[in-house]
């Protein structure tokens, strides 16, 4: 399989097919990245598009020193930060940020989401980058510009905290817990 970095260099050299392959490889995971952070499927789709537009615009500046995966999530993190700033500004001007979409969302997903929201924001980001984007500790350290040992210790802390939250919730609603940890090869319907 051609590496992402080789594809990016091919794209720099003018290959449309290389870009299309990168798009196919990362579209779904970037969509999940935005969805989980913004709880908004429409914005998630827009921001996936903006990420790839940024790649196209900056292609000539890409250097293979960075993994394409880290590079893409770096762009995505900046877009999420900008989106959050936008909501913050609009809420100080009296507009409220859109409510997270919960229609049709299974209860166990809401439960996991609520547990995640109890973590402090930097720890949650590290945990999400590890669990959902499956980035290595060094990728996360590079992206967030923090030492790798900090990544490890925060990840450890947030996993233990999360375990505590999930266990206490499970005591009050054991059926929900069972539902969340059941094997689910293809669970549907978050929107």
């Amino acid at each position: 399989m051609t590496s992402d970095e080789a594809l990016m260099l091919e794209f720099q050299g003018g290959s449309r097919a290389a870009f299309e392959e990168l798009f196919a490889r990362y579209r779904k995971s970037l969509y999940g990245f935005f969805w989980r952070r913004l709880n908004n499927p429409e914005r998630a789709e827009d921001l996936v598009q903006e990420t790839f537009l940024a790649v196209i615009r900056a292609a000539s500046r890409y250097e293979p020193r960075a993994l394409v995966r880290t590079y893409l999530y770096g762009i995505a993190l900046k877009l999420v930060a900008a989106e959050r700033r936008k909501f913050l500004t609009s809420s100080t001007l009296g507009h409220s940020a859109p409510e997270p979409k919960t229609d049709g969302t299974p209860e166990f997903v809401l439960w996991v989401r609520q547990a995640m929201e109890k973590l402090n924001s930097p720890d949650r980001e590290i945990l999400m980058l590890r669990e959902y984007e499956q980035l290595s500790y060094s990728d996360i350290a590079e992206l967030l510009r923090i030492p790798i040992n900090t990544v490890r210790s925060k990840l450890f802390r947030s996993r233990l905290e999360l375990k505590g939250y999930l266990e206490s919730e499970a005591k009050t609603n054991p059926a929900l817990r069972a539902s969340a940890v059941q094997p689910h090869p293809r669970r549907r319907g978050l929107q």
Partner: protein, 335 residues
Amino acid sequence: MSTNRHPIEQEELMAYLDGELPTDQATEAMSHLELCPECRTLAADFQDVSQTLMAWEVESPEVGIPSEINVALGERLQKRKAAKVNWSNLENRVITRRWLWAGALAIVCVAVGLQLTLTSRNRNEDRSTVYPSMASIEQYLMPDRNTEIAMARSAAPEAISSDAKILVLGWRGYEPANQGKNGFVCMVERSWMSPFNSAEFWNPRVRVPMCFNPAAARSILPLTIKRTEMVLAGMSKAQMIDSIRAGFANKELLAPEPGAMCYMMSRAGYLNDTLGHYVPHLMFYFPLTDKSSWGADLAGSPVTLNPQFRDGPEPITEFVIPVGKWSDGTAAPVM
């Protein structure tokens, strides 16, 4: 958990489960985990948290490349093409009108090319000087036999490796640790199974857990045994290459049997300084085969041609296919 009773910290255990520990620590963690129920409980807790988080699955709508991206893409590619054409026109004018410039340009190109060649050669030299020759044998051996056995078994899921024969590296070569029942053979390969021209051929940190199926145990494993014996006997690379060629010529070494494959699904392995733990994968062996027959290395294909035997004395083609889980059932990192 007291650190007096546990040779590894809880954070290290987590890092091990994430495939983030260096080989030596990973094997230590793996061995300890087998013996310590308390740590297994903690490991199960971590895995439980990960599994619970996976409940938050997001299904992406199936869409092609949006038109806005297509337009931007088209513009960029066109600009690039135009830039190429303009450069080519400019170059033509320079060449036709000013021969002197062309000469100067040629000189600059030669100088730059020479510089690049030297830089590239220096880089290669720098890299190969890290492991220029064989280290002491102790550095390739694992101090604890049980750790090596556990690491070898971790190459394949337990259902396969628990009944497999295990080989352990000793001073004179690989030695059997048991007999095995299912025809599979698990072992930990060392750096000298890299291509002969690899800069890491003598890297003593390399530990590659592998579990050969019966067909590969009969036809591929003898190569590992032979190379290892030659290395431990102090033969030079040139002597080893000659000996392998002779081995194939006189049928001492065999072509891969049909169906020869091996499991490489250990999270504790260390393939080399570039790949680290890499990702769990399977390998399939054939007599020399065109990679296109498997669609290897094509865009979107999960099949890769492994360079292990490329341009080497072994007439073998080896394909690699990544799989989604480590042998312990945990999810693998995305490639």
